[in-house]
Symmetry: C2
Subunit: 273 residues, 2 copies
């Protein structure tokens, strides 16, 4: 996964990750959590969701894993004093998780699958998540299905969304975000259709401030010095097209009618006894 995590860990990337909380990004699993649950947060990044989980399982514990030592250091340093049921550990989902079978009652991921470029990687990842979930437990994923810019005619729907998909699919032109196909992946791994629950959430970027935060974040990632810019170059997107994308971001940020919605597939499966 290290070689596939294409967007890198610049401040422009990780600061957008740090805004995530259990309420913004894990609300769909909260009603299913028991105070004694043992939760695995896969691809925990700076750990804001992980920490939130720890506060709602006072009799349980939470393990956050990520492939980046640097990000894990940030996560560890952000844990509020007195929260002792939270652990962070370096691990690579694709190389196998360092946990026994049936180890967790809830295994959660948010925005991990877009970074797994092939169907084989995505299958291996979900299989590993399922392996460490105990019977009766829950595998839950919140993964982006669409990124839609309005006004609908905004060129960002091609320039940013289209190119992001291309990058995440290692250069394939007609790739797309994985959210919509997550229910199929669950079923392929042996979850019965009636054990799979499919919902959808949204993340909205609107208003002058909201647009500026979101747009400037992508603008910074696409600047020449950012590893995210390099990930675009690697799949053959030209500087000229990158410049057009940044320009379209600026137009969008300045348009009082503009907004963006990221559609999130919220899928969970119950592991059979």
């Amino acid at each position: 996964m290290s070689t596939n995590y294409t967007q890198g860990y610049s401040k422009a990337t990780t600061s957008s990750h740090a805004a995530r909380t259990i309420h913004s990004d894990a609300a769909f699993v909260l009603p299913l959590i028991d105070p004694a649950d043992r939760i695995l947060d896969v691809g925990c990044g700076p750990g804001t969701i992980t920490t939130g989980f720890a506060t709602i399982v006072p009799q349980g514990e939470v393990v956050g894993i990520d492939i980046s030592d640097e990000v894990l250091a940030t996560a560890r340093s952000s844990v509020p004093a007195g929260l002792s049921n939270i652990f962070f550990q370096r691990a690579n989902l694709l190389e196998g998780l360092p946990f026994l079978d049936d180890n967790f009652s809830v295994v959660f991921s948010s925005q991990v699958f877009p970074h797994l470029a092939t169907a084989e990687m995505r299958t291996a990842a979900l299989k590993e998540m399922r392996r460490v979930t105990r019977p009766g437990g829950l595998v839950a994923t919140r993964e982006v299905a669409e990124m839609l810019f309005y006004p609908r005619a905004s060129s960002l729907n091609e320039l940013l969304t289209g190119n992001m998909n291309k990058v995440l699919r290692a250069g394939q032109k007609d790739g797309w975000f994985p959210g919509g196909e997550m229910p199929a992946l669950f079923r392929q791994l042996g979850f019965k259709p009636d054990e799979i629950n499919v919902g959808a959430g949204t993340t909205v970027h609107s208003g002058e401030e909201g647009r500026r935060a979101f747009g400037a974040g992508y603008g910074a990632r696409l600047s020449r010095s950012d590893p995210y810019y390099e990930s675009w170059k690697r799949v053959g997107i030209s500087d000229e097209e990158i410049d057009r994308t940044v320009e379209a971001l600026n137009v969008w940020m300045g348009d009082p009618d503009a907004w963006c919605v990221v559609l999130q597939a919220e899928v969970w499966g119950r592991v059979r006894h």
Copy 2:
């Protein structure tokens, strides 16, 4: 509007409307409602949302308007006994509402704007909604922005979504649902950008039963005897393409990995004092 309400009032159409509640379709405005509010529900259909509003404004009242006497009769007969602060009235938004200026504290619509084919109609409609809202009050709209079928390769994204948009835009090929453009419409009518709040909700159709209910509903609407079928024929969609759409619906309904999400733009504007 009567001439523009293209999909007609067959049972296949109105039964899908009757599943709507304030919790499924108006959750985004509920935190803003005061028990003494006077609410107008524009295009109330069978009145399930209207009735829900009435239960949360015990010191206020709710008026539901629609252009169809038949649907209003259903709405009136569905009001629970003892709920006396609810009224239904026939009215046509495009011909002018039979209310004085500044009459309501909340004016709400759900799925009204897709049935207004032109920008002029949509502007006139929102202007009229704003006119009857008192200063300090709220104009709130929940209008579809996208209808997305998964697996993403599903031909329904062209056959059903594409043709629906064509019908709703009176035959224009590159039309789309109005949700994404609602913030622009609010601003054009004089709401300041910081008086407009933009969010997004979803309606998901998944699981065998959920797919069957949704798919069979559209299948029935597209049967030769339904006014909805006639609305497709009127804009030149061939029987052959309609048959292909119904066939694609059947394939989708039978696919255990398939699901659909309707993305809803949830926009409200505060009318200035």
